[in-house]
Structure formats: structure tokens, C-alpha cells
């Protein structure tokens, strides 16, 4: 069986079609997604909780208008409370929440014009600055928004200082306070992953899927056409060893494949993987097993290798788009998200993303692994039933 596994690996490596589906195709997509700067084109969702509702706070809000006009930000409805807003960011419904405290814009006047403005009046302490709550967006985008808010705050303070100096000449205000913390930031939940990083892990799963399904379907139907399966049957080799060797070789290749795709994403395009890649192994192996079984099933239905290849594409291409490789399944209408999430590719992608981007461990993604294991069992059952040797 070892000899057969090694022979299988040799054949796969020498087969250009295998290399295409296993590596070239996913890598082309990695390069495409790596080169496009998606942060430049997608818009982030922001909500503003304006606790002050003063001309100063309106000015700050207005300072984000430029980013809105460039399509980088999209204003959402104001949440009812800070707690609710934070919740929305944590769940991914919002990317940013800007909370402007009630005291904003009044502090600069606290030298006496408005004595009721707070406990900090007249002292060195400032009241709480505006807080930007960050969600799951990339670091680049985060810096852009933080910068815009900071500029807005500075502009507001400058305006206030100007009006105050016109009234009572108090320039020492500016000099005494270098304002290091004019914008506070707070991260909620998910560490920031870029769209590219999301897609990269989707592509790992997709590569394993297309290769597993299509190349095994083509190989087996080719073997059948050439009577190689029959030829195996007339040797004393137990036929389960033949299939075990096929599966082993394919799993080993899937692991190499995942490693290469990840490596290209990380080292060539600077993707950040937070989790332990070894925790991805169960998802890679279970997912690969499901797709191999699908390949065996297809090979039983297809009469020629070309038909097997076509049917493999019919199965894998829609799954690639539906199950969340590129787009979130939650963007589908009606009940379709549930259907898409039930496909074997979806839990595999979810598990890989949770591990790779959120640093989850293999056992934390057990629901996805269990679902995949169910798929393995179901497809194996069908494969054994429909398989034919000649």
C-alpha cells in the first residue's frame, strides 16, 4: 500500500491537470485577490452616537463626510445606546461606532463661560474624548478612519479656541495641553481581518474542494475506461488497499496544497494568520475526505473522464460561490443562507477562518468539524453504493 501511495503521489505530481486544479487555479485567485486593494473599493459601515448634539459635535460628524463621499464609509442609523452599538459592532453588523460624549466641545469653554460643564472644570483633566469603536475591518482602514476623526476633533478644538481667544484671550489653553488622547479607540470582539485574508482561507478550502472532487473523479473514470480497476482486481491486492492508497495520497496532497496557498498569501501578500495552522488539519482532512467521496460518486456516474471533469465542475463551481468563498452566505436572500451553510464547503471555510483569523483552536470549531464528519459519512455511504469497477 505504501508503494501504491507513493506511485499515486508521483502520478499526481506529474499530471498537469492535477497541478492545475490543486495549485495553479487557487493560486491565480490568490494573486488576483492579493493584488486588488479591496479596502479602496468597499465601504465600511459606521454609526455615530452623538451624545452631545452641539454645533461642535456636528462639525466632528461633518468631518467624516469626505470619506462618505468617497464611498469608503456608509452611515447607518444611530443605535439606541452605547451598549447596543457595541453589540452591533461585535456581531459584524457595524464596522465602526463613533461615540461622542455629552461633554464634547464644551470642555474648551470651561475656563468660566460655562461653569456647570463638569468636574474637570478648571483643572488639568479633560473629560472623556470621543471614542471610536473598531470592528472587523483591516488595520489600514482603521488608521484612515481614526485619522479622519482625529482631524475632526482638532478642527473643532481649533475653532473653539479661536472663538474663545477672540472673546477673552486665553491662548495658554492650547500650549498647556498637547492633547495626546483626543480620540480614544476600543476594539470589540474580532481582531481585524482584511477581505483578502477572508478570501485566502476560502481559497484554501476551494482549492482542496476542486482538486479533491475533480481530479479523483477524472482519475477513477480514467482507470475504469482503461480497465486499470479490473487489472487491479486480478492481482492479489485487496481492493480496499487500492482505494486507501488513493485517499491517503490525496489527503497528503491536500495538506501540501493548503500549506502552499497559505504560504503564498502570507509571504507574498502579507496576509496575517493569527491562529495555529496545525489546528487547521482536522478541517482540511475532513473537508478533503468529503470532496474525495464526491469525486468517487461522480466517477460512478460519468462514463468518460471528460464527463467526470464536467460534472465535477458542475458540483464545485456553484458551491464555490454559494458556500462563502468570496461572499458571505448571509448576503443571500430568504432561506438560502441556511442551505448554503449546510453545503460541505461552508463549515470547512468557517472552521478555517475561525482558526486562521480569530485564533480559534481545533476543538473550538467542533460544530463545523462535526458537520463535516456527517458529510464524510453520508457521502461515503453513497459512494460505496454507487461505485462500479467496469
Amino acid at each position: 500500500m505504501v508503494a501504491l501511495t507513493i506511485a499515486n503521489l508521483k502520478m499526481m505530481v506529474r499530471n498537469r491537470q492535477t497541478t492545475f486544479w490543486a495549485l495553479f487555479f487557487p493560486l491565480v485567485l490568490v494573486v488576483v485577490f492579493g493584488l486588488f486593494d479591496f479596502t479602496a473599493t468597499t465601504s465600511s459601515k459606521i454609526a455615530i452616537l452623538d451624545g452631545a448634539d452641539t454645533p461642535a459635535s456636528l462639525l466632528l460628524v461633518e468631518s467624516l463626510g469626505e470619506l462618505e463621499r468617497r464611498g469608503l464609509l456608509q452611515r447607518q442609523d444611530q443605535p439606541a445606546s452605547l451598549a447596543e452599538g457595541r453589540q452591533l459592532v461585535a456581531s459584524g453588523d457595524l464596522d465602526y461606532l463613533l461615540a461622542i460624549p455629552a461633554e464634547f466641545g464644551k470642555v474648551a469653554d470651561s475656563d468660566g463661560l460655562e461653569p456647570q460643564s463638569g468636574p474637570a472644570a478648571g483643572s488639568d483633566e479633560r473629560p472623556a474624548p470621543p471614542t471610536l469603536i473598531l470592528g472587523g475591518e483591516g488595520e489600514e482602514r482603521n488608521q484612515l478612519i481614526i485619522g479622519a476623526v482625529r482631524q475632526g476633533v482638532q478642527q473643532t478644538e481649533k475653532n473653539l479656541a479661536a472663538s474663545r481667544s477672540a472673546e477673552n484671550q486665553g491662548p495658554e489653553n492650547q500650549a498647556g495641553r498637547p492633547a495626546p488622547d483626543i480620540v480614544a479607540t476600543e476594539r470589540v470582539g474580532v481582531s481585524s481581518a482584511t477581505y483578502f485574508e477572508m478570501v485566502l482561507l476560502g481559497l484554501v478550502a476551494m482549492g482542496i474542494m476542486t482538486h479533491g472532487t475533480i481530479s479523483i473523479a477524472v482519475r477513477i473514470s480514467n482507470y475504469r475506461n482503461l480497465s486499470i480497476l479490473k487489472r487491479m482486481l486480478v492481482t492479489p491486492l485487496s481492493i480496499w488497499k487500492f482505494f486507501a492508497a488513493e485517499v491517503t495520497a490525496q489527503l497528503l496532497l491536500a495538506i501540501v496544497q493548503a500549506a502552499v496557498i497559505l504560504a503564498v498569501g502570507i509571504f507574498l501578500f502579507g496576509a496575517q494568520i493569527n491562529g495555529n495552522v496545525f489546528h487547521m488539519l482536522p478541517a482540511v482532512i475532513l473537508g478533503s475526505a468529503v470532496f474525495l467521496n464526491l469525486g468517487f460518486i461522480i466517477s460512478a456516474w460519468a462514463n468518460t473522464p471528460a464527463a467526470a471533469s464536467g460534472m465535477g465542475n458542475v458540483v464545485t463551481l456553484p458551491m464555490m460561490f454559494f458556500a462563502g468563498t468570496f461572499f458571505s452566505t448571509s448576503a443571500l436572500p430568504w432561506l438560502l443562507p441556511y442551505a448554503a451553510d449546510a453545503l460541505p464547503l461552508a463549515p470547512m471555510i468557517t472552521a478555517l477562518r475561525d482558526i486562521g483569523l480569530r485564533g480559534a483552536t481545533a476543538w473550538e470549531v467542533w460544530p463545523q468539524l462535526a458537520w463535516l464528519a456527517g458529510w464524510v459519512a453520508a457521502t461515503a455511504l453513497v459512494a460505496v453504493r454507487v461505485f462500479r469497477f467496469s
Binding site: A3, M11, R14, N15, S227, I228, R231, V234, P236
Partner: protein, 315 residues
């Protein structure tokens, strides 16, 4: 033990159609045994049952003295099989394929020795798709020898080969036989069966119609000589009747490879009457047929087949 294969009352049905319909025969150790018959006669099905690829509906098969169903793996380790139209892994070299196949067997022959034997030693690093048809056919024979088998089963080893390649393969089969290996082969080439086989089973429509040595089979039939003649114009009724009187005249050509057939080609099959040849020649000369071509040859297996089955042997 003197029988390499013993088949008794073998039946294999596909639905209502009996592909093998009560076949019995023995193959003796150390002989080259041929199964001759047209396509669809049941040759391949019979072999596949012997090889363990299909199970019989009725009947017993013993290979090398063991029952094929009880001792399948024991048998598989000791026989070599070349399947009809079987190819091999496309992305391995010949040497690698033979090594891989050998790894399935307890006893194995070094790949280089096998390649040497079939004249492919210099192609060890080639792949199957880089071989000519004749070479790849020789390679599949080499592959059937990886386990140094006691019995080799070859299913139509020469089908589709040009004459030169066919002769090479005949030599190869005789070389295998010279090593005391029992050989069973199927063919639908008469001259091949006549040349190679010590004994021959003629199969038609799932049954065996005769088993004997080629010489015995030929001497058993009614026809002794066949005269093939071609006239410049079709025979008239008188000529036809005259010839018919001295033998069995037929207009139809039953030599599928013969390109020279025309409307004025005839076959005259003579019976065993010692005078028949004389009579026929006198008749041809006397009836004033203007001859374009005349050929007299002794009966062959082809005549045997025709007489036994009433069928032409088609490609």
C-alpha cells in the same frame, strides 16, 4: 496434478441472455490452449470468470487445482492476466509500473528482466503512451509475468496489431511457453490459433462446439480442399451447375481480409472423396470458364469454423 484449469458446466447470464451457456473444458499443464471464436462468443466472459473478475451463475471452475471462489487470492498470486484493451497508469514509467505491480505479489520478477524479455529494455523510462501499439501490447504481456506465474491468460493479445508486431508477439508467447508456463489465449485469428495452440476450443454463442488440436480439428471436417477462383465474367448457369456437381460452390466470400473479392469470385469446397480434386479441376477446364485467378489450398481452421457453426468468422 495435470490440469491447469478445469471448467465444468459453466453458465453466465446477463438478464435473459446466456453469455456462457454450459461450457466445459480442461487446460493441461504446460500447453498453449486457445479459445477461438467470433466477437460475442463468450470467450472474454469465460476468461473473466476464471480470473475471478466475475462469478459464475452455474458450474465449477478450478485453477491450478483450487476452487476459484474459495481460494481466489491463492490463485491470483499464481496466475498472470492480460486483459483485453487494458492500459496502464499514464504517468508512471514502464519500470515504475512493473515495480508497482510486483509489489502486490509475494513472488516477483525484477522489472528489468521482464522488459528484457519483451524487448523493451531500452524503454524502461518511457511511459505507456509513448509506446507503439505493438510495444504496449508486449508491455501488457510483460506485466502479466511480474509474479512469475504458473499460468498466463491472454485475452486477444494480437488484436489490432500489424503483421510484424503480431509475429513478434507470437515469438514472445512461445518463449513464455518454453519456460514451462501454461498459456491460455483467445483469438479470432485462425492462423494464430493454428500456429500457436497445442489444443483449441472453438466457441460460438456461449458454447464450445469442438475441442482438439488444430490438425485433428481440420482432419475431422468434410471439406478437404478449397478452390478459390475468379473468372473474367460471372459464371453462367451451365457453368455454375457443372461446378456445383463436383463440390460445394459458393459465391459469397468468407475471407474478411481478402481485398480481391468481386462479383466473379467463387469458392468451391471439396469433400473428402479422393477423386474430388481431379473432378473439380477437369470440370473447371471443361466448362470453358475464362479464369482470372485460381487457388487450391487444403482446408484450414476457417473451414472448420464455418462447418461447425455455419457462421463466418468476423472481425
Amino acid at each position: 496434478m495435470s490440469e491447469a484449469i478445469r471448467v465444468e458446466g459453466l453458465v453466465k447470464r446477463y438478464g435473459n441472455f446466456a453469455a456462457v451457456d454450459g461450457v466445459s473444458f480442461d487446460v493441461k499443464e504446460g500447453e498453449i490452449f486457445g479459445i477461438l471464436g467470433p466477437n460475442g462468443a463468450g470467450k472474454t466472459t469465460t476468461l473473466e470468470i476464471i480470473e475471478g473478475l466475475q462469478s459464475p451463475d452455474q458450474g465449477q471452475v478450478a485453477v491450478l487445482g483450487k476452487d476459484i471462489q474459495r481460494d481466489a487470492n491463492w490463485i491470483k498470486a499464481r496466475i498472470g492476466v492480460q486483459l483485453q484493451s487494458s492500459a496502464y497508469f499514464g504517468f508512471l514509467t514502464l519500470h515504475e509500473i512493473l515495480t508497482l505491480l510486483g509489489s502486490f505479489y509475494p513472488k516477483r520478477v525484477p522489472p528489468n528482466e521482464l522488459l528484457e524479455m519483451v524487448g523493451l529494455a531500452d524503454r524502461a523510462k518511457s511511459r505507456v503512451n509513448q509506446l507503439s501499439i505493438g510495444q504496449s501490447q508486449r508491455f501488457t504481456v510483460a506485466a502479466s509475468l511480474v509474479n512469475s506465474p504458473d499460468l498466463v491468460i491472454l485475452d486477444e493479445p494480437t488484436t489490432g496489431l500489424d503483421p510484424q508486431a503480431r509475429h513478434n508477439l507470437w515469438e514472445l508467447i512461445q518463449a513464455i511457453h518454453a519456460r514451462n508456463v501454461t498459456v491460455v489465449l483467445t483469438t479470432h485469428y485462425m492462423e494464430e490459433a493454428e500456429l500457436l495452440c497445442q489444443r483449441l476450443a472453438i466457441m460460438d454463442r456461449g458454447r464450445i462446439v469442438a475441442i482438439d488440436s488444430p490438425g485433428e480439428l481440420i482432419s475431422r471436417i468434410e471439406t478437404n480442399y478449397t478452390i478459390k477462383l475468379e473468372s473474367t465474367q460471372p459464371l453462367d448457369d451451365n457453368q455454375w451447375n457443372a461446378l456445383q456437381g463436383s463440390g460445394n460452390l459458393d459465391r459469397t466470400e468468407y475471407y474478411p481480409h481478402d481485398q480481391s473479392r468481386s462479383d466473379s469470385s467463387y469458392l468451391l469446397r471439396l469433400d473428402k472423396n479422393p477423386e474430388a480434386l481431379n473432378q473439380a479441376i477437369n470440370c473447371i477446364v471443361g466448362s470453358g470458364i475464362s479464369l482470372k485467378h485460381l487457388e487450391i489450398r487444403p482446408a484450414t481452421l476457417e473451414d472448420v469454423f464455418l462447418e461447425l457453426t455455419g457462421n463466418e468468422l468476423r472481425d
